[in-house]
Point group: C2
Chain length 110, copies 2
């Protein structure tokens, strides 16, 4: 509903940060976690999430491990060493971006 549109470019940062905190997670779990943490304000769609996970894996930032739970497939993702480094970078970039936007939007506080 109040699905405040994702600013494009932030999804990877979200994924990496969550994996940095929770060691390993599967896709569906990520969507639920984001929903919970943002009290339903942000909904990660599957059409965005799964391609993003595949890409991060292809780039060597994530490792994947398939498991079967309750006769259903789960793909657990975890950060590689490179992925952990990239997480730091992405978080710095986000913090920088927020600072920059605040400088633009509220120059008096800058």
């Amino acid at each position: 509903m109040s699905n405040s549109k994702l600013y494009k470019g932030s999804l990877n940062t979200i994924i990496l940060k969550l994996l940095n905190e929770h060691d390993k997670m599967y896709g569906y779990e990520i969507t639920q976690k984001v929903k919970a943490l943002t009290k339903g304000e942000l909904k990660i769609t599957e059409g965005a999430l799964y391609p993003a996970l595949h890409k991060l894996e292809a780039e060597g930032l994530l490792d994947v491990e398939v498991a079967k739970v309750d006769n259903r497939l789960r793909k657990y993702y975890k950060l590689t060493e490179t992925g952990t480094k990239e997480t730091v970078t992405k978080l710095e970039e986000l913090a920088e971006y927020i600072k920059t936007m605040q400088a633009l939007v509220n120059p008096k506080l800058a």
Copy 2:
């Protein structure tokens, strides 16, 4: 150089906010203002800016006024009434987005 990529979707907010503060501005001026305010960290490319201005104008959020200064063309943009309202909305959305991202990225402070 350290051209921290624009998070897609934030350019309109930047334009509207600057016009809200400066009454009327022309395109090139906006690129310079952003560069100055962000100490060179954010560079608005012309390929992004001009189409964005044209679109905001087409949507009725901006009015345009052509001027000739030093024998060179300038297109001054200013907010319409609708544009002013939309600026408020966009700024609220940005603040909301920043809060949301901070909840995800730094859940302890949320």
